[in-house]
């Protein structure tokens, strides 16, 4: 089965997000880039499908020329082909992104991609909708947030969790499925995989940017995100103070032999 996986290049942010002076982007001068965590699992899932059932894995991304790096990362995990929908670096809205993916699926024929995978949501913009828009445009069913995927015949059985219960969807192929981290544990790229990815040709298409009716004005870091903890002490010597704090919060177990009032203060 030929599987298409859609991924997105996002900044690799650590403990702190810094916004650029013009308020339009996350400052990435000090950070690398990666794909969203769910998407790495989507690629792993697709590679496992191809290992089990044969067929190819095509990884597609929409982004600036540098997004080819993320395609090569995914090729190193075992994907076979990379497709870059190259942009000039502007942010694309979900409607335009979905339209570009749908057009690319048409152009990449004869591969028809019975299964299209994506992450449940992008780590940065978190729009929760590109895959669903792609599914509607292609007239396919769509399941999202999937933690277990089983293919049999022309059907996909997709399982997810919702409010502590499991939801199971059985849908016919061709289909669009978004997955969540936890569906699998992505492998580390092998050295031969890396070398192959480095040399691989990447198909480049250039879709047309469209204005989005949801227009970003500015990004900011929410207030109150920069306080500093009161230091209770160092090492085991801090345990009595820590115990007091836990008592104050009311989370200590009720003491057994001191009358049960659990006084820690």
């Amino acid at each position: 089965m030929d599987v298409l996986v859609c991924v997105k290049r996002v900044p690799m942010v650590g403990g702190k997000v810094v916004i650029t002076a013009d308020g339009q982007d996350v400052d990435t001068r000090m950070s690398g880039f990666t794909v969203s965590p769910h998407e790495e699992c989507a690629v792993e899932e697709a590679v496992q499908v191809s290992e089990r059932e044969g067929g190819s894995v095509t990884v597609l991304t929409l982004g600036p020329p540098e997004a080819a790096d993320q395609l090569r990362d995914m090729l190193a995990l075992g994907a076979h082909r990379g497709v870059l929908l190259e942009t000039d670096g502007r942010e694309w809205g979900p409607i335009a992104t979905a339209a570009a993916i749908v057009a690319a699926v048409g152009e990449l024929a004869p591969a028809t991609f019975p299964l299209i995978l994506a992450g449940n949501e992008a780590a940065d913009t978190g729009g929760y909708q590109v895959a669903i828009r792609v599914a509607h445009a292609l007239g396919r069913p769509c399941a999202t947030g999937i933690k277990r995927l089983e293919l049999s015949g022309g059907t996909v059985r997709a399982t997810r969790e919702y409010r502590g219960a499991q939801e199971v969807f059985e849908i016919p192929l061709p289909a669009v499925v978004t997955v969540k981290e936890g569906i699998n544990l992505p492998r580390y790229p092998s050295l031969p995989g890396r070398l192959r990815a480095k040399r691989a040709d990447i198909t480049v298409l250039r879709p047309q940017w469209q204005v989005d009716d949801l227009r970003k004005q500015a990004l900011r870091v929410p207030p109150g995100a920069a306080r500093r903890a009161q230091i209770l002490g160092h090492g085991a010597a801090a345990v009595p103070a820590l115990l007091d704090v836990l008592g104050e919060f009311g989370v200590l177990p009720t003491a057994v032999r001191d009358g049960g009032d659990g006084a820690a203060a």
Binding site: I171, A229, L232, A238
Partner: protein
């Protein structure tokens, strides 16, 4: 009946959003047994804040898995949150969660009632249904909003979350009908606002304009027109998981990160969590190393927690992790690095090695209770 989503046979009210409710706001209200899920109640309050004093706020309730066997809904909680109308959806084939079918029903209500906005809590169901609605109508969807204000005809000024809440975006939405999901863990709880607030504040239409008699919302039964394609994706079974206490609802979460050092280090954290009546949660590095299963992961791509206490041990505090514990009442960090980002998020911190501090804490708690 001109409306495709008109009142069904047992309908108690008319089609559309009721009299005087043109340009009203529709809100998806997810059931939780006989009541409405907390997140959806917040979404209804959010929806009510968007509606003008003369416009309706329609809460739309779908059948739960099990269909006719589900308990009768107590709609008064929806009125308390500002709903003027409650639409109970009934359809022969619609007895389980079906995202496209739910969206189709909302679409038909939007068309018949001329709604100016559709709101849902940014849960997995709410986000999915609104994305389907956006795809069906070609309208944009603004996900994870924390505020929205009308800014002229079919224009809205929004604040929405990016990076799971670590970044806020100011945005303008131009749409004949605004499709919004609400980041309900970032807006105040319904219980925090008094339903009986009688001050003549212009910003509380919810308290001052009950539609029905006795403050009860007008209830309508609607039957959507659904195609086979709308019903292709349906939850076919739903089994409760029996995995003990839920990370999402635990009162105490003891967190472990890279500083735990390996899979063996979690025994002490489990012991401490058990003593405090809580559970262990972990950071992403722990699950991607395979030290612990993903279901224990706290964060943007794991579980969002809201405990009384989050005791984060050996966790640096990357924004993706902090996004999962923004709702913790108290955060206490144990970390060897006084400059770790977690220190900027915690209320208290112990600087030191968790492999020394945690056993000493366990011993102190045990000594205290004997």
């Amino acid at each position: 009946m001109s409306s495709p989503a008109g009142a069904g046979a047992g309908g108690a009210g008319g089609a559309g959003l009721g009299g005087g409710a043109r340009g009203g706001v529709i809100c998806l209200a997810e059931r939780d047994g006989a009541t409405i899920a907390e997140a959806s109640l917040k979404a209804v309050e959010f929806a009510a804040s968007l509606a003008g004093p003369a416009t309706g706020v329609a809460a739309v309730v779908f059948p739960q898995l099990g269909g006719a066997g589900t308990p009768e809904l107590d709609a008064s909680v929806l009125a308390d949150c500002g709903a003027t109308d409650v639409y109970l959806v009934q359809a022969a084939d619609l007895n389980a969660y079906a995202p496209a079918a739910w969206a189709r029903c909302l679409e038909q209500l939007v068309v018949s009632g001329g709604a100016s906005a559709v709101v849902a809590a940014a849960t997995d169901h709410g986000s999915e249904v609104l994305a389907h609605l956006g795809a069906m109508t070609g309208l944009p969807v603004a996900a994870n909003c924390i505020s929205a204000q009308p800014a002229g005809l079919s224009s809205w000024q929004l604040v929405r979350q990016r990076w799971a809440g670590s970044v806020l975006e100011d945005a303008v939405l131009e749409a004949s009908c605004a499709l919004l999901t609400v980041a309900t863990d970032a807006v105040p709880s319904p219980s925090a606002s008094s339903p009986s607030a009688s001050s003549p504040s212009a910003s509380s239409p919810s308290a001052s304009s009950p539609a029905g008699v006795d403050g009860r919302p007008a209830t309508h039964v609607v039957t959507p027109v659904l195609s086979q394609a709308d019903l292709l994706v349906r939850a076919t079974e739903s089994a409760e998981q029996s995995s003990g206490m839920s990370l999402a609802t635990a009162r105490v979460v003891v967190g472990g990160g890279r500083g735990v050092g390996g899979p063996d280090g979690f025994a002490a954290l489990e012991e401490l969590a058990a003593l405090l009546g809580g559970v262990v949660g972990v950071s992403r590095v722990v699950t991607s190393q395979g030290w612990r299963p993903h279901r224990q992961q706290v964060g943007q791509t794991g579980t969002k927690i809201s405990p009384e206490l989050y005791l984060a041990c050996g966790i640096s505090g990357a924004i993706q992790h902090m996004a999962g514990c923004l709702s913790a009442r108290h955060i206490v960090a144990v970390n060897t690095d006084a400059d770790a980002p977690i220190i900027a998020h915690a209320e208290y911190a112990v600087i030191g090695d968790l492999n020394e501090v945690v056993p000493a804490l366990i011993a102190a708690i045990r000594a205290r209770s004997t």
